[in-house]
Symmetry: C2
Subunit: 530 residues, 2 copies
């Protein structure tokens, strides 16, 4: 039982490791995560044992072993030159607070196991709600701490947030009606039969997050009923096309259950025309959800929040605090315009979540949950709106700078301009660029495709090699770049949320890519020989 009563010994192996971590987090990560990538198959060799060991290990032995096998080969997500992720460096104070959160080991499912953490979580949801919807004081006084209302739901991340929003949309559409007890009680088949719909559909742009497909599967709607609407060249959904799709569906007696606007697409960072989508949702009489998992943090900037104008008309909004709000992993939220909405998924049990209780668990998809709201609360207070204003504005402006830097190179090509702090581009040797432009001007799809295929190979080669070298990291995806004859191409993808990423680092990333390109023997020679 000693492990339950022992103090942490500062001079133990684990104590020393922790001390290094606390005194210099960035230094610790830089020092202990090896730069050059070890192949996954090699790493896996250290994780082959499939039996729980019989004998206990000493904590110090275990800690040392993990430093070698796990920490050394984890990903330095907070490195200023690792600009391919949505994770960033973290403010130092979240570390001791996390430790406190773990030590307190609250369970937010109910008051009995969380007490003051419940009003704290409700307050965070209230503040986030106010950031999006800006209702007046009486609104928050009435609903923020009301037992039978909720301004949102905390969850592990954006996926669960999106699922929760669409779950509510489905249950509100197919609600109890006369003798019919509603979809929650009677199931989807009876609900569709009762309401006389042949099917349901969800409309979203082709840039919608994959979690929407997951939600459609889970909710029994079916992935095929996520209707993907094409984007205009700017990666924003074409609202006219969405309206056409909706009319076509409704003519087939397929009810549009929800339309989803994306505020910061995962792949290009663009924001759908939210006002027009709100108008369309109103016309269709359907739920309007905005997936702002990543982009929502930009509402914290007074200078740039206009980019998301219209979001306040959404019925529900997803925001991840663990993305650009600088909170550690595991802090998603969905906010509800109407404090009554969550009652569509309300549930009770005997021993907890009794009717009339303020237990948060009665309106969340998850059950037991940790007190992550505390870390969001801390960031909101310690960074404050003024602090976020600087952080968000710097990110957006850095992305614009990087976009211009790329456009100014004769051997790089910007694939999507940054609207927030995300952009995509690729390496295209100058000579190839002019050939590609000629082929596009001549509307020669076959030639464009030939060049694109080779460029795709080259982009993948550069991205992989750069990652393996461990100095910097950009991610990659496939999109339809502007002026590419509607052809899909592989591109580098960069997210500039880390406040420690400097202009020098951005220049180095391009320089490194240019150098790596020269090493390719498969695609580059063919491209230069075109």
């Amino acid at each position: 039982m000693r492990i339950f009563t022992l103090p942490e010994a500062p001079n133990s192996t684990l104590g020393k490791i922790e001390k290094n971590l606390s005194e210099n987090l960035m230094g610790f990560l830089k020092e202990n995560i090896v730069a050059v990538e070890k192949p996954l198959s090699e790493i896996e060799k250290d994780f082959q044992a499939y039996q729980i060991p019989a004998a206990p290990s000493f904590v110090s032995d275990y800690a040392e072993q993990m430093m070698q096998t796990l920490i050394a080969h984890s990903v330095h997500t907070s490195a200023p030159s690792f600009i391919g992720h949505m994770t960033s460096a973290l403010p130092y104070f979240v570390l001791p607070l996390s430790k406190m959160m773990v030590g307190l080991n609250q369970n937010l499912v109910k008051i009995e196991t969380s007490k003051a953490f419940t009003p704290l979580e409700r307050q965070v949801l209230g503040m986030m709600h106010h950031m999006v919807y800006g209702q007046n004081e009486p609104f928050y006084e009435s609903w923020m701490h009301s037992a039978s209302h909720s301004l949102g739901a905390f969850c592990s991340g954006g996926t669960v947030a999106n699922i929760t929003a669409l779950w509510i949309a489905r249950n509100r559409l197919l609600k109890p009606d006369g003798d019919f007890k509603g979809v929650a009680q009677s199931g989807l088949m009876r609900a569709l039969r009762h309401y006389g719909y042949d099917d349901l559909a969800i409309l979203v742009s082709t840039r919608g997050h994959y979690s929407l497909g997951k939600a459609a599967d889970l909710l029994g709607i079916g992935r095929d009923n996520i209707v993907s609407v094409p984007c205009a060249a700017d990666n924003k959904v074409d609202v006219a096309k969405m309206r056409e799709a909706a009319e076509r569906l409704e003519a087939q007696n397929i009810k549009v259950m929800a339309i989803v606007g994306v505020a910061g697409t995962t792949e290009t960072g663009n924001i759908d025309p939210l006002k027009e989508l709100a108008d369309l949702a109103e016309q269709l009489g359907c739920h309007f959800h905005v997936d702002a998992a990543w982009g929502g943090a930009s509402l914290l900037s007074n200078k740039y929040r206009h980019l998301l104008a219209g979001i306040e008309r959404a019925d529900s909004v997803t925001i991840d605090a663990h993305k650009q709000m600088y909170v550690p992993m595991g802090a998603g939220m969905v906010l509800f315009k109407d404090p009554e909405f969550a009652n569509a998924i309300k549930h009770h049990a005997e021993y907890i979540l009794r009717k009339g209780s303020k237990d948060l668990g009665s309106q969340t998809l998850e059950g037991s949950r940790p007190g992550m709201a505390m870390l969001v609360h801390a960031c909101l207070q310690v960074i404050g709106r003024d602090g976020y204003e600087i952080l968000i504005n710097n990110s957006l402006e850095k992305a614009r700078y990087f976009g211009e830097l790329i456009a100014a190179q004769d051997d790089f090509q910007l694939a999507s301009r940054p609207e927030l702090c995300l952009l995509t581009y690729r390496y295209v040797p100058a000579k190839v660029q002019s050939q590609l432009n000629e082929a596009i001007a001549a509307n020669d799809a076959a030639r464009v495709s030939e060049i694109n295929t080779l460029l795709d190979g080259l982009t993948k080669f550069i991205q992989k090699r750069q990652r393996e070298q461990g100095k910097s990291f950009v991610s990659r995806t496939r999109i339809i770049p502007a002026n590419n004859l509607e052809q899909t191409s592989v591109v580098f993808r960069v997210v500039l949320a880390n406040p420690l990423t400097s202009k020098e680092i951005l220049q180095q990333v391009l320089d490194e890519q240019r150098e790596i390109a020269k090493l390719d023997t498969r695609f580059l020679p063919k491209l230069l020989a075109l």
Copy 2:
């Protein structure tokens, strides 16, 4: 930007708080969480602001304020006398490891943001799978790290685990078939039409966890299609009645999609007859899920794992490591007997989860997730099977001791005997006990109901007052106690997972309850006047 580069200052307010926490966790919690409960409405006063503050706060000011408003009024979940929760004291080493986990900020959704954490998580799932299913070495060699297989899925908790299991069961039942693309793609209505079922049903005992209802709602099956089967007097499902229910449903062309066995019910801690349920599932040709969210940890005891015999025949098993495995909140798992099962919910995207990748996110309900697997891994190695053997056995034997202690008092009544380390009971003055027994012997339902109603009021009074006094905490629920003419009653509920809970504390809990009972002026006088 300084908050991203500053070291943690050991002499700052937050540094000092952390030091106290590290040096003496139990002391820190005892000292800083106030004992006497403040009403929630009072606590809420500190969480009224609904606007994100404009100006940043000093970390030290914020930390001090939170100590007063949040920490002081949180719940001391690890107190040895707080025996109403499933949370326990934590081994000290999980605290520094948690801090490391947060500092590393990995995202387990994909290799690119988690690297070695991915094989680590797969190893943990492998070890847990082996604990349940005990397959041979070639099995784990083949599947543990296979890109297109998975032995389980990590998630935030048992609710998501249960949802995942039933999601898989639904998708496997309504799989693609000829021209039909399957429920995942085409939705539930078309799937039921294709397979010619009028509806689906899930069978579980009346003691099943409320998350199953949530799953039925979410999956479009409907809460009414969770068919609750009565338990025998021992709170284990009556398998004969379940068979009858299944036959009745199938005669109505309602397909039994899954039967769920409970291994450690939330309210009484009992284990369903898993072997018989496995036989029934085989006969019905349906999925057999075991919800061992809480009880599954008992498999770590060689002495008592026989209590869960038959679990190895389940298609899927839910286990929460944050319950009796002494891992902090947020570590749920679902294990799959067949490494192919998870392919029924597999999904891909362009920029991550590409086909053939080992990204864990392609087979999980959640998207972005933290590296909680690391803490489970640490506990499995540092505590080891030998350590867990002692912890689990002590818990079970302490519960048996407490059950006997309660039975030996003439003014307490055991409502359910502990099978694992959970039991229920109530305070019934000796005189009332004999009157109740007489009424039961006479089969006088009205009289039994009259007594029960008064006892319910008394039980609630005692439980609430004891919680408010802050010395100890038991929870309460409503069940049908043995020998109570099938009438539902309110009972105290106790979980004895905390290794620091002593026999003296158990005696004190009863003494305190007896004292509190005397203070009741509403129900006790009426009971004594009967």
